[in-house]
Each structure stands twice: as structure tokens, then as C-alpha cells.
Symmetry: C2
Subunit: 239 residues, 2 copies
């Protein structure tokens, strides 16, 4: 069973949360838009075209056999039990999903630090607004989100090494990605917050050391962060 992942080439974007789950599990998948053999960018374009099937409002989209699933968190909800990344039992599965959705909220807010007015406008046309929004994000939202995840880790009855229960879930991989991106985009502000959220910092480091994740991060499959994705390093937005 080979999964097909449809996502924009050239950025990590929201597709990266799906890639990390597939990579950690060692699951076979094709990154369609990056693979000529799988159809390349044209296959992605055809799926989303105005007169195409449009199975989702936006990428990422996962194909699992006949099933086409959109929305990052819905894809991970589907993959979770199949990749053994959804904890143990129904209560842990729903808790894992709650974590993922909170990470998604944080990711949306990161995106809007450089695009507070319109996704259709380049950053250069919304810089004063971006500076204001990024200031509020650094001062209020960044500590609030990472502070809450620190609380979740510190109060996990099974220990602070993972968000839910005693086993790695897709939410841990996603929290790694959120922290990794924040360290890229806001190195100074993130370092200050992580100094007060040691369990979050430790989880980020531990996930990066997992053999399959480490191999993936060192591979060409891991697109570097850049200024076209969600996490962008604009020094004027850090501080």
C-alpha cells in the first residue's frame, strides 16, 4: 500500500506534518508533485483545477486507495491508527487529535505574522501590519501556545516525554515541526520562550534524534525552510 501525498513543491508547508508521520512510520509514499513518475506538478494541478475533482479546498491531499482526504489534521486522523501514531485507545486518539488541532491553530497564527492582510498579497505589501502582528505574536501568543504544551507535557501521568500517554503520536511529530519552524522564523523570541518550557525543548530534541526522523531530516526529501513557506525568517519580525 503506497500513499500518494499531493502538496506544493518547493516548500515544507502543511504537507510537512504528513511527511513526518509517514517518514517516522517508514510508510511507503510518493510525494506526487515532486515526482515525475507519479505525475508531477501537473497531477496536483489537475486535482485542484477549477474544472477538476477538487476533493479538498487546499493542499495537502492524501490518496489512500480510492480515498482522497484533504485537511492536514484529517489526513493525520486517518493515518494515525494505520501508522501506529495515535496512542492507545479511543481517549488517547481524541486527545492526540486535540493536540494536533491546537498545533494547527498555532501554525495559522505563524502564517499570519507575515500575511496579516491577504494571502494573495506578497509580504512586501503588508509589512507594517506584519510588524504589528508579529509583535503581538511574540509577546502573547508564542508564550501562550508553548506554555500550554509545556503544561500538557509536565502533567502527563505517563511522563513528560510525549504529549499523550506513553507512546509517540503524530502530535509529538507535529509539535517538533512547530518548534523547528519557530526556531527558524523567530530565533531570538523562540529561544527566550523555550528557556522556560524545558519539556517542549526536550521533546523537539528527542524527536530530531529518532533514527527515521534524523535520516529524513538529513535527506534531500526534507526541503529546507525558506521565505515561501509558513515559517519565514524576516529578521524585522523577530526581536
Amino acid at each position: 500500500m503506497t500513499y500518494d501525498l499531493y502538496y506544493w513543491p518547493g516548500i515544507q508547508g502543511r504537507g510537512e506534518f504528513v511527511r513526518l508521520a509517514l517518514e517516522e512510520a517508514g510508510a511507503p509514499y510518493r510525494d506526487v508533485a515532486r515526482s515525475d513518475e507519479a505525475g508531477g506538478f501537473e497531477a496536483l494541478h489537475d486535482l485542484l483545477a477549477e474544472d477538476g475533482p477538487r476533493p479538498a479546498f487546499a493542499c495537502p491531499i492524501l490518496r489512500d486507495g480510492d480515498l482522497l482526504i484533504g485537511q492536514t489534521a484529517a489526513i493525520l486522523l486517518h493515518l494515525g491508527p494505520r501508522l501506529d501514531l495515535a496512542g492507545e485507545g479511543a481517549a488517547q486518539a481524541i486527545r492526540t487529535h486535540q493536540m494536533q488541532l491546537t498545533i494547527a491553530d498555532a501554525v495559522n497564527e505563524v502564517h499570519d505574522t507575515h500575511h496579516p492582510i491577504a494571502v494573495s498579497l506578497p509580504y512586501e505589501e503588508q509589512k507594517p501590519e506584519a510588524a504589528r502582528r508579529a509583535g503581538a505574536f511574540r509577546a502573547e501568543r508564542l508564550p501562550a501556545f508553548l506554555g500550554w504544551f509545556e503544561h500538557v507535557l509536565a502533567t502527563n501521568p505517563a511522563g513528560p516525554g510525549q504529549l499523550v500517554g506513553r507512546r509517540l503520536t503524530y502530535a509529538d511529530l507535529s509539535l517538533f515541526q512547530l518548534v523547528d519552524g519557530l526556531r527558524y522564523a523567530f530565533p531570538a523570541a523562540t529561544a527566550r520562550v523555550l528557556a522556560g518550557t524545558p519539556h517542549v525543548a526536550a521533546l523537539h530534541a528527542a524527536v530530531a534524534r529518532r533514527p527515521r526522523v534524523a535520516a529524513y531530516l538529513a535527506s534531500e526529501r526534507r526541503e529546507p525552510f525558506n521565505e515561501h513557506g509558513i515559517f519565514r525568517r524576516y529578521p524585522e519580525l523577530d526581536g
Copy 2:
């Protein structure tokens, strides 16, 4: 089995998506912060306090027995099969959830039309930015979101009366709420878009006519829209 819903009193907010599902199903629930008997606002405050259990980053939170679940979409994921509002089979359940997450994205964008800079600042301190963001929302995002849902309804093999399969799901109730809020917040812009998305308009009207939903909307339990919630009528943001 009585559910407890924890959400801010005085607004519909994201709690409304949960209320609509519970009301349509006729499920017994207590709206804790509005009920002195259930503990009132203090019970909500204690749950989220800095030294409290903080089971979620934010409201709404649902208590189902020993389980406390945060995140609107995770709550609906949990309730879906219990209230018979998740379609038929696993493929429809995940499709229903994908729809819900896309509605949640639209709701976030609506919120940011009046709060493009910071949730901590009042609208009055971000009015020029709000005018810009609302303009882009009306011109690009509103037609994009409702246009995609129109496509989903028009191409549903079971008919355009519901988003997934042949039965009502929580995603239909949520799309009703999105459209209802858009009609309140942006009456002119929404009327223009709905003229081109007849299936979306028809779904909104059909949900409002369902006996339990109609009874709920006419009751005191339905908080009116106001300028403290997600959907706010600021005439200068419509057009």
C-alpha cells in the same frame, strides 16, 4: 448521559457549532457557564485557570463522563457517531471531518477580519488593518470558500442536500452556522456570493427549518449574534 459544554457566556462563538449538534440530536447537555446549577462561570474559570487542570488551550471544552475534550472539531469528531451525525462508514466520517476543518478555517478568517493584528486588542485599535483584511476576505476568500462548498454539494453523488452522503452530518449544521454568521456580519457581500451558490443557500435554509434546529433558534438558548463574537456586524467592513 448528560454532556457538559464549557464555553464563554454572552456569545455564540465556537461553542455554537457544538450546541447545534447537541440540539439537532436532542442530546441532554448543560451549558455550564450559563447554568448556576452546573457551576456557572466559575466552573469554566477554574478549568482554565493558570493553576487549574487546563485540559485545553481554549474553549469550547466538552465533558463526557471522565473525558474532557478541547477543540471544536475534536469535540464534533467525538460526538459525531454518538449523535448519529457522522455519515455512514469510515470514509464518510473522515470526509465529514474534512468539511468541518475547512469550515473552521473559514471561521478563523472571519474572526481575523475584525482582529487582523491581535486578539488582545479591541477592534477600535486595529480598524485600518481590519478594513484592508475584510476587503480581501470579501473579494477573494468568501467566494472561494462558499464556491468550494457549492462544488461539494453539486457533485455529491447522493444529491446536493447535504455535504456528505445522503444523511445530515455535523458538517451541514456547521455550514449552516457559517452562512448564518456571514449573513449577519457581511449582509451585502454574502448575499452577492449566495446568489451564485444556490445549493449552499438552500442547505442553510433547510437546516434552519429542521424542527429541533428551528425550536433551538427560536429559544432563549440561542444567543443573538453580537459584536463580541466571531461574526460581527461592522458596516464599514461590508460592501
